[in-house]
């Protein structure tokens, strides 16, 4: 992964000093709450429902073991012994003290970590395919470009106060593992017919109150122009994006208002001024950054391992875990492993300090000292020898990190919701917990098969409910918590937004609703058909009919 040189480190140290001074001036009354707000947000610091919330950036989800140990240390020293891994591959602490945050930032800086631009109306943490560099279906490694763009975005003076937050993601594989179309800019690293590398550029996607899927504005941008082109997009947005209405300020609204063609034309016009200028990425710079992402020192291993096959045959629990949580690797004899943070009884994405230390140990022992965060709120060890999988499984299982549920019903994406977040309209963790408890039976889950269940506590959609096969959204009605259910959303290739099935439900009804949706699916499914395939084949009506069958048609009656 990327290692700081003295320039990166100096900038980060200067940031720590800057924020320390800002906090000092705020506490001394020189910097008002309003003036301090965007400054603290750009340093990851929220004022939340229970306490401040501190959001740490993990660029493209990569964590070195020493960084994990530092997070564990922060959890113990400044919080309540755990952290929360988010859908944006950030790490959140829910109980720090406001005045401790400068010191936490200083500690993070010693391991090349920070909370830069994890909130505020600026370019946020840049994400990338968590299996970049190891996936067999990858065109080229997008991480060097993600890092180059991270540097361009960091403390960028022109774009520090945009109309609204701005999120960028990279992918470069046959399978879209970052959901490119829900980003402000989605960058798909591809090869053109001549075999040259470049980006298919998507703009104007986003979830939230007005979910919109991004549109392609450039089918092929040679990689050298990545910065100048993104600068053109950002400049058009910064100048002409709406600022009068918070809910209409994202770039998706501008792109929609102008139409992707006209927006793309304006970007081209702007880009013509910067194209081929100093922002053109040099071969040398790409090579310098790419060297940080060179493959680790893999051993030459046989693709097949008889001892491993024997373990699989002899141990059903291990085989189940391998089937669900282990992914193919491009290097013979290696595999990528997903550690589940979705054990029933813990909030999705919550990790204790002990678990973080253990993941760090496992990363050191089995995966070249590196772990990766997934937007599904799990953690991957990307470079594990197949021969080590059994030992890894045993160690992970003892720590509660080996639930074989990746991609299944209890692998729920869930925001912190009303228990923590001051934006939330409803709690989401108790809903996830009730669903996990009801469907904890693994045999049943494996029978149901792949299903994405996503829960957001409010319209801001941190739980990505729009793209869940089943999406649950907390809504506020007369100061009470209600839940709206949608089905048919998908992430990845051919991303679609789910459709709301009808009136919302009380919290204690949700498990029953999920049950009915699954029963309907089981009755209607063809062989080997996933829940989402059935929904797409038969439509939402049979599901609606079942869910609302025994409900009084009170709302209809009211209109008569």
């Amino acid at each position: 992964m990327y290692q700081y040189d003295e320039h990166d480190q100096r900038l980060l140290d200067e940031r720590v000093a800057q924020f320390r001074d800002q906090m000092h001036r705020h506490l001394a009354g020189e910097l008002s709450a309003d003036e301090f707000r965007p400054l603290r947000l750009q340093n990851g610091l929220y004022i939340q429902r229970q306490a401040p919330m501190f959001r740490i950036s993990v660029p493209y989800g990569h964590l070195a073991s020493r960084q994990l140990r530092k997070l564990a240390h922060l959890a113990r020293s400044y919080d309540r012994g755990y952290a929360h891994f988010t859908t944006r591959t950030n790490v959140q602490f829910n109980w720090p003290k406001l005045e401790d945050v400068p010191e936490m930032l200083a500690e993070l800086a010693t391991v090349q970590m920070h909370a830069n631009q994890t909130s505020g109306n600026c370019i946020r943490n840049i994400t990338a395919d968590p299996f970049a560099g190891v996936a067999a279906d990858e065109v080229a490694d997008p991480r060097p470009f993600a890092e180059i763009l991270r540097q361009w975005a960091t403390y960028n003076p022109e774009f520090a106060f945009l109309p609204r937050k701005f999120k960028i993601a990279f992918n470069s594989a046959a399978e879209d593992r970052v959901v490119l179309r829900v980003y402000d800019i989605g960058l798909d690293l591809v090869r053109n017919e001549a075999g040259e590398l470049g980006f298919r550029v998507l703009v104007g996607g986003g979830l939230g109150r007005t979910p919109i899927l991004g549109e392609e504005i450039k089918p092929f941008l040679p990689w050298q122009h990545l910065i100048s082109y993104c600068e053109a997009i950002l400049r058009v947005y910064n100048r002409w994006g709406r600022r009068d209405n918070l809910w209409k300020a994202r770039i998706k609204i501008l792109v929609k208002a102008l139409g992707p063609e006209e927006f793309g034309r304006q970007v081209e016009e702007e880009w013509a001024n910067g194209k081929d200028g100093p922002n053109t990425i040099t071969e040398a710079e790409l090579a310098r950054v790419a060297a940080h992402f060179a493959p680790p020192a893999y051993e030459t291993l046989p693709a097949h391992d008889a001892a491993f096959d024997e373990l699989l045959a002899d141990n059903k629990a291990f085989a189940t875990w391998v089937k669900r949580n282990v992914r193919a690797h491009r290097q013979p004899g290696y595999a990528a492993v997903v550690l589940s943070l979705k054990k029933t009884g813990t909030a999705p994405g919550d990790v204790t300090a002990e678990q973080m230390d253990l993941i760090a140990d496992l990363a050191d022992r089995f995966s070249f000292g590196e772990a990766r965060m997934l937007h599904e709120q799990n953690v991957a060890l990307a470079d594990v020898r197949r021969a080590d999988l059994f030992a890894l499984w045993q160690a992970a299982r003892d720590a509660g990190l080996a639930t074989p549920n990746i991609g299944l019903l209890t692998d729920i994406i869930c925001c912190p919701g009303g228990d923590f977040c001051s934006l939330a309209n409803a709690r989401s963790i108790p809903v996830a917990d009730a669903i996990q408890r009801r469907f904890d039976d693994l045999d049943y889950q494996h029978d149901i098969g792949e299903i994405d269940l996503n829960i957001s506590g409010c319209m801001n959609s941190c739980g990505h409910h729009h793209v869940g096969h089943i999406g649950i959204l907390g809504v506020d009605k007369n100061d009470a918590e209600w839940y709206q259910v949608s089905i048919g959303g998908t992430q990845g290739n051919g991303t679609t937004l789910g459709k709301v099935i009808g009136p919302s439900f009380a919290q204690d009804e949700i498990v029953g609703v999920i049950e009915k949706l699954l029963q309907t699916y089981v009755e209607l499914r063809h062989e080997d058909e996933r829940f989402i395939d059935t929904v797409q084949r038969v439509g939402t009506e049979p599901f609606k009919a079942r869910v609302y069958a025994d409900r009084q048609p009170q709302r209809k009656a009211a209109h008569v």
Partner: protein
């Protein structure tokens, strides 16, 4: 009206008045005070001939609101010695792009002044985008605070990206290939 601003990294006394149009006031009708002033774009456009000599001498400058396109001044940049760009809220970042465009695409060489909600925590970003004059709202800072705030201009000493102040990005400014990695 504060009589101190930061100009080229120093606190200096400055008595330039910023003229604003009251609601319903016509640009052609208002009195433009004698002495150094910044007038709104609309006043400049309505009264250009009348104000031309004072503009050439540097006495009259023009300020743009955050939503106004810098192209409106493209033909006058040679004769204007001072241009103000307004920050209606410190979180409104449009004038950063406006400054960048004036300095780069339009090659404006005169004084570029940040006016309105101008906070010391933005001085670094503002100067990197090409502002050489920083004028916080009147009474926002005491003289001592303003003097202390000058240090904020250097919050980041060697930024990653190119900007008006650093026309080359870091990867073209220094040979990072030779840089040793920091041991963590």
């Amino acid at each position: 009206m504060s009589d101190k601003i930061i100009k080229n990294g120093r606190v200096v006394t400055d008595d330039r008045l910023t003229v604003a149009l009251a609601e319903g006031e016509a640009p052609a009708d208002i009195a433009v005070p004698a002495g150094p002033v910044l007038v709104p774009l609309a006043v400049w456009q309505a009264r250009r001939d009348e104000l031309l000599a004072r503009a050439r001498s540097g006495e009259v400058g023009v300020w743009l609101a955050a939503g106004e396109d810098v192209v409106a001044l493209a033909d006058d940049l040679e004769l204007l010695q001072v241009i103000g760009l307004h920050f209606p809220k410190f979180t409104d970042g449009r004038s950063y792009s406006a400054a960048t465009l004036l300095r780069t695409r339009h090659q404006y060489r005169g004084e570029l002044r940040a006016i309105g909600e101008v906070l010391r925590d933005q001085f670094n970003y503002m100067t990197r985008c090409g502002f050489d004059a920083l004028q916080p709202r009147a009474e926002r800072y005491s003289d001592e605070q303003l003097a202390a705030a000058v240090a904020s201009i250097d919050d980041f000493t060697e930024p990653y990206q190119r900007s008006v102040k650093d026309p080359l990005p870091l990867f073209r400014r220094v040979d990072r290939g030779a840089g040793s990695q920091v041991q963590a």
